[in-house]
């Protein structure tokens, strides 16, 4: 089955950040997460309201970019057409120092995968052609 990408209005800056290009038109996507303009708390995935102070005011900011492995799964058979034939692949759950987590594929070889190991987030074109956050060993 083919899946239509979903890009919601409330998350448009997230998708726009991933899709940014440089002056030469080359991909230059950035990962952006929400930071409350009123209380400074980061949140992810995107949503309209800050759950800490209930402000709608928000900035979209790039996180520091280096996090630590919290958990993972290695997918051996995917029902997603874009991923079929690319198995096995490893999806990391990563703690960022900003207090939010990211999910993304580990694009480097998984040897040495362990909790707490540092990883660096990058934005690369996904199998569906849309830029997405992925991880390299830091």
């Amino acid at each position: 089955m083919s899946l239509q990408a979903i890009q919601s209005l409330d998350a448009q800056p997230y998708w726009d950040g991933l899709a940014e290009t440089g002056a030469d038109g080359a991909p230059a996507g950035r990962l952006l997460v929400q930071r409350c303009r009123s209380c400074g708390k980061h949140r992810h995935y995107p949503r309209p309201l800050c759950p800490a102070c209930h402000s709608f005011k928000v900035d979209w900011v790039p996180p520091s970019g280096v996090g630590q492995v919290h958990s993972w799964t290695t997918v051996h058979r995917s029902a997603l057409p874009a991923y079929a034939g690319r198995e096995p692949f490893t999806l990391l759950t990563v703690d960022l120092p900003e207090g939010v987590r990211l999910m993304g594929r580990l694009v480097d070889a998984p040897e040495g995968l362990a909790p707490g190991r540092p990883v660096r987030v990058a934005v690369e074109r996904g199998p569906d052609g849309v830029p997405q956050p992925v991880f390299h060993w830091a």
Binding site: L3, Y45, H76, A79, Y83, T93, P127
Partner: protein
């Protein structure tokens, strides 16, 4: 004669409602020959007749949120004269047990006397990932995680199990004992789909789907339907079968309910929030539970719920499930019908059916003298529900 302390501050809702009827179709794999609606009407009619109630006298319905059998269908097919309440509970696999709480509340409020819960599927709706993608509860996952390669529940839930293993030393072999126990029960149940016994070694040899989950950690895709009738205490007295009182019902929603990734503690489900509440409302303790039906879409989900229910401490679920603990004769007979892992995936409506039969003393794998039991639900990204039933 109650074995239990009478001094507890039990809920005024305790015993206000009871399960008076249960019904199921035959379960199978692959596409059914009949429509999802026809299957659900068969199960619903069986439940109502099991209770000895005239189908036209049903005055409340809580059909599955999937929308394949809606309140209007029940009115038109049963000839219901005066439907006073209808709702759906959108908590995935926690919905049937959470709907017991809804039914109890509606009955306690005096709105209804007979509330019918029904759920079923015809096996033709496509794979589970694409089905769930249509539901609002999967909206966040569909937008942000599916493009990354996480689509089916097995992929979304696996990081919880991995984190549990990393934190507490839980092993794949621990999970195997859960799969073996469910299959053991299914092997002697006449309406179970998977009846060939398996061993821990079979589990360990089954192929990886999404690590740490192997094939035999995963529940079935199946077709069929199940239904439960909940009635007011006074309306239950004249039933065909002895009513099974609802001692307590509760639902619990996890932190970060749309995203497992963002949940502070990946090893704590919504059930953890409502478990003590339900035991307090029921006025019973863990040691009073004679038989359990625990939602088992994946083996690890059973293990985590045993901890969240308080049958063992967080992290000790792996040790708890070994040595046949979950089998009839063990310390907590669980899913005596084979569960979602080996009977059929009826989103836990079949768990309520089975627990009712146990507490009536008419189960295929009867736990001798079972008086009090519990049933849990688990759904979507970790929603939980718990009902404690029986005679205490």
């Amino acid at each position: 004669m109650s074995r239990l302390s009478s001094g507890s501050a039990a809920s005024p809702l305790r015993g206000v409602a009871a399960i008076t009827g249960v019904g199921e179709t035959a379960y199978g794999r692959g596409p059914a020959e009949r429509s999802s609606l026809a299957l659900q009407l068969e199960a619903a009619l069986a439940a109502v007749r099991d209770a000895g109630v005239d189908p036209r006298d049903i005055d409340g319905v809580i059909p599955s949120a999937a929308g394949t059998c809606i309140a209007e269908d029940l009115v038109e097919n049963f000839g219901i004269r005066d439907l006073r309440f209808s709702a759906t509970v959108p908590m995935g696999g926690a919905s049937p047990v959470a709907a017991l709480q809804t039914a109890q509340a509606v009955i306690a409020a005096g709105i209804c006397r007979h509330v019918l819960l029904v759920l079923g599927r015809d096996g033709r709706a496509g794979n589970i990932g694409s089905r769930l993608r249509q539901t609002p509860q999967f909206r966040v996952v569909a937008e942000f995680e599916t493009p990354l390669g996480a689509f089916a529940p097995v992929e979304l839930y696996a990081p919880m199990a991995r984190r549990h293993m990393l934190t507490y030393g839980t092993t794949s072999e621990d999970l195997a004992h859960i799969a073996v126990a469910m299959r053991h029960h299914a092997s002697t149940h006449p309406n179970a789909v998977m009846r060939k016994p398996i061993t821990v070694a079979d589990h360990q040899a089954s192929r990886m789907i999404a690590e740490p989950f192997r094939l035999l950690d995963c529940s079935l895709e199946s077709h069929g339907a199940a239904a439960v009738l909940v009635s007011a205490r006074d309306a239950a007295r004249d039933g065909a079968k002895p009513p099974v009182p609802l001692l307590a019902c509760a639902e619990g929603h996890p932190d970060s309910p749309s995203s497992i990734t963002q949940r502070p503690d990946l090893t704590r489900l919504g059930l953890a929030k409502c478990a003590q509440r339900a035991f307090d409302l029921a006025g019973v303790g863990r040691a009073d539970i004679d038989v359990a039906a625990i939602y088992d879409c994946f083996t690890w989900v059973v293990l985590c719920q045993l901890e969240d229910l308080g049958f063992c401490a967080k992290g000790e679920g792996g040790a708890f499930v070994r040595d046949g603990a979950l089998q009839v004769g063990g310390r907590l007979p669980t899913n005596t019908h084979g569960g979602l892992l080996s009977q059929a995936h009826m989103a836990g409506m079949n768990h309520i059916v089975e627990l009712t039969r146990q507490l009536r003393g008419e189960a295929a794998n009867q736990v001798a003298g079972a008086r009090v039991g519990l049933v849990t639900g688990y759904g979507d990204m970790g929603d939980g529900a718990l009902a404690i039933l029986g005679h205490a």
